[in-house]
């Protein structure tokens, strides 16, 4: 009996060790990828902030600007860009952002543009039609792709395929904190003008075409920024998750080793008792 449980414990310890090896390796891979992703996210911030500033400035100065991008429409058809990861085992990273995005889209006529394999799978299984499946690998997307996506979205928006555009992504607050967020992109809402900032600005060729040229640029920039944040978040989440998995495995190995040693000792004690009893009789 004790021999059998010893063997079972030994097998469990061995399997736990190999699991620990995997989680440890994944943690280290995530940590090294996190470094690069974090740098990229930080490098993309000034571009996005400047673009956003110019955009706000422009819409403040010309609050009466007639543009298809600023008018609120009657319809309620939502298109949501959802950025999630390509792989699981990243703690709550995929689940959190997908849940948040789904809450926005549930019970509405909606479209999705999934970025990342997990997002594509999630919405396919819930039968939400997707605008395009070309970008279901988040790791492979570069700056150029973001601008291609932005132009596609602008065309579709102007053709009336959807009335609102949302972006669901994960904000990289720090290595330990990542918060999922939904950002409304279109129609553009402008902070109300206080009547100030009406200095004459020279627009070339004219304010309307400047505005319409900037919008796709702006969307592309936002998309790239969100993608950088999300990728950094994914690596950070995976690192944290794998770190705690490794710690759990360590704990479990300790506990099982203790049990195993007790069982082994018990068996030896029993054997000695049997021998002594045999010699005495």
């Amino acid at each position: 009996m004790s021999g059998a449980s010893e063997k079972a414990l030994k097998t469990r310890i061995r399997s736990m060790r190999s699991t620990r090896q995997i989680t440890k390796a994944m943690e280290m891979v995530a940590a090294s990828k996190l470094h690069g992703a974090q740098q990229r996210a930080i490098a993309s911030r000034p571009y996005f902030e400047t673009l956003y500033g110019v955009m706000q400035d422009l819409s403040l100065r010309r609050a009466d600007l007639p543009s298809p991008y600023t008018q609120t429409r009657e319809g309620d058809k939502v298109c949501c860009i959802v950025i999630a990861g390509d792989r699981g085992l990243a703690g709550g990273y995929n689940g959190n952002v997908l849940k948040l995005a789904y809450a926005e889209m549930e019970n509405k006529a909606s479209l999705v543009l999934p970025i990342g394999k997990k997002a594509a799978e999630f919405f396919r299984s819930r039968k939400i039609p997707s605008l395009t499946d070309r970008y279901d690998e988040a790791g492979a997307i570069e700056v150029g792709d973001c601008f291609t996506i932005a132009r596609l979205l602008c065309d579709e928006y102007r053709s009336g395929k959807f009335d609102r555009l949302l972006l669901a992504y994960t904000n990289f607050a720090s290595v330990l904190v990542q918060t999922p967020a939904v950002l409304p992109l279109l129609p553009l809402t402008r902070e109300t003008s206080n009547g100030a900032a009406t200095a004459a600005v020279l627009y070339e060729p004219d304010s309307e075409s400047v505005f319409d040229a900037i919008v796709p640029e702006y969307l592309g920039g936002v998309l790239y920024g969100a993608l950088c944040e999300s990728v950094a978040s994914e690596q950070a989440a995976r690192r944290t998750a794998m770190d705690s998995a490794t710690k759990n495995a360590d704990e479990m190995i300790d506990r099982l080793s203790l049990q195993y040693n007790r069982a082994r000792q018990g068996a030896i004690t029993q054997e000695i008792t049997e021998i002594v009893a045999g010699a005495e009789s």
């Binding site: 990229r40 490098a43 000034p46 571009y47 400047t50 110019v54 700056v143």
Partner: protein
């Protein structure tokens, strides 16, 4: 020479930040030169060579897409792609141009979207390989 604060940003980082003497950049309407004291001005950018003079030194770059914004005397160049002359990967641009040309030569076997993409790619490659000094 009088200077103005110039900031050049692109999605992958900041290319220039500091005082500049002059900036010439290709906009959608042609080359535009900016000196200190320019009026407030916003325009989308085209594709072409940009010339930046700062601290007496003139540098050239390939600048593609984005916008130029002058506001209160400070200039912001928000580019989709901005590469200093010495950062440009010429072999890569040449290879890209070659690939794009082979697509454009074979019009029957490609969709319109593919042809448009190839044309855009060729244009970008030509801007990168054709940075001229002026």
């Amino acid at each position: 020479m009088k200077t103005f604060p110039l900031q050049i940003v692109k999605p992958t980082g900041v290319s220039f930040e500091g005082e500049a003497e002059s900036l010439v950049v290709r906009t959608v309407g042609g080359d535009v030169g900016i000196l200190a004291g320019h009026t407030d001005y916003v325009t989308p950018l085209g594709m072409g060579t940009a010339r930046i003079t700062a601290e007496g030194q003139t540098r050239y770059a390939a600048c593609i897409g984005g916008l130029l914004c002058v506001s209160g005397g400070s200039v912001k160049l928000v580019a989709t792609s901005f590469e200093w002359e010495d950062e440009i990967d010429i072999p890569r641009a040449n290879a890209s141009a070659e690939r794009a040309r082979s697509v454009l030569d074979d019009k029957e076997h490609h969709t319109e979207a593919e042809l448009a993409l190839a044309e855009a790619r060729l244009k970008r490659a030509l801007v990168r390989t054709g940075v001229r000094h002026f």
